[in-house]
Symmetry: C2
Subunit: 228 residues, 2 copies
DNA sequence: CGATTGCTTGACCCCCATCAATCCTCGTGG
DNA sequence: CCACGAGGATTGATGGGGGTCAAGCAATCG
């Protein structure tokens, strides 16, 4: 079993604030898991007894709306912590987490994290900052959802995905999302997303390489993002 | 100048976790302000050097979208803290806060709060919990914005407003919002909001007493909230 | 009592949700 | 190796929700 002290991923999140001793303690009680593409890590209403530290892979965090469609709210990747919110509120999960590709994650039990939150102010400040940033991001998402058209949101999301997940050798946005997933990010029907993608393609803002999206004209997409 | 130790409002937020000594220190450096209806407390991009503790009154917290409309994201009332997020991230404000009616607020300078956040784990845990709850609420707002129709969101908002701000002697929802404000909460054009209100009125789900909204049929609104 | 701000209604039309049909692609088992 | 089935991608047709512009009315305020 790998040791947290030697794991580079911890540098990417609040765990970097833990002392050597605290890290060793965590290392002894954590468990590593492999999660297959499509697998559900936790569901709305589940009691998650800890947090997940993502070593590799990507997962989508979503919530089922009453009308039956799943809205994707976050995309979580290497270095992120998953499940912090529920842990701190001491509530069941409000959201569902599903692996977008194969993942390696470490599960750290709740009591350990809580102990450190109480005893290590640097750690708790770091978690607090992290949460504050999420809150800001989410506030901004609300504004976009409420005020922007589907076309604007799609342009915006494409740029976001490329920026955060990079591109592969073909230049394609390097995240394995279906059209339906993309539709669930921007909050629209799958067909609308597809139609807009084909419009963007026709105008040479993007091209499609085997369903993968290659962004050709960032500037044009940026201008769509702010208007029409 | 009032003393925090004697102020009942502190029981309503994280400040209740402070020790007597800490409270006295805060009490000496805080400043009380009266804010008039319509006045802007801070604007997007302002550097807020502390947090506001709301003694009375209500303010709307909003963000201007690139298309020029203001989206209201939170409504803050007695007992709430305003400006926590920016303080913790150590960034300029992402949002704008405007008084909906006359307010009394206390301003607590940043350094004092930060000092307590580092030294008092109960306080920082309380702030953390508070932030976690906001995050959950905001996640849910995203889902509603993305997936629900304007009619659903209006029904939902009316119920929310009544529940959180109560009713006055006429039975009217006890918060002084214009139609435009309501439209900016649900993220739609003012005219659409008005049209839906008049539809609800026609169906006797609500009545209007001098522009104030009196809710007559909660069950019907609840069923609208989940479907159509 | 003007004048500004908020409220209301009408007309118009476009964006996008929905339903339906077809095509594509990839994994599985025979 | 191929057939086949299932899930994903795509395109078309259609209708309604809601945005926008415009005009008139009500109310609030200096």
């Amino acid at each position: 079993m790998g040791k947290c002290e030697q794991c580079m991923v911890r540098q990417l999140n609040s765990i970097k604030e833990l002392s050597k001793d605290e890290l060793i303690r965590i290392s002894h009680c954590k468990t590593m898991k492999i999660i297959k593409k499509g697998e559900v890590i936790f569901n709305e209403g589940d009691y998650i007894n800890g947090v997940f530290c993502i070593k590799s892979g990507i997962c989508k965090v979503s919530k089922m709306s009453e009308n039956g469609r799943d809205q994707i709210i976050h995309l979580i990747k290497r270095g992120d912590l998953l499940g912090q919110r529920s842990l701190i509120s001491d509530e069941v999960a409000n959201l569902k987490a599903t692996a977008v590709n194969d993942m390696e994650v470490c599960f750290i039990p709740k009591q350990e994290i809580l102990k450190d939150l109480h005893k290590n102010p640097n750690f708790s400040m770091s978690v607090l900052k992290n949460m504050a940033n999420s809150l800001k991001d989410t506030d901004n998402i609300v504004v976009n959802m409420a005020q922007k058209s589907v076309r604007q949101r799609l342009a915006s999301s494409l740029l976001y995905l490329e920026e955060n997940f990079g591109v592969n050798k073909d230049g394609g946005v390097n995240i394995n999302l279906t059209r339906e997933d993309i539709a669930n990010i921007i909050g629209t029907a799958t067909e609308s997303t597809i139609r807009l993608l084909s419009e963007f393609k026709k105008k040479d803002y993007i091209k499609l390489v085997k369903k993968e999206i290659v962004i050709l004209n960032r500037n044009e997409l940026k201008s769509i993002e702010v208007f029409t």
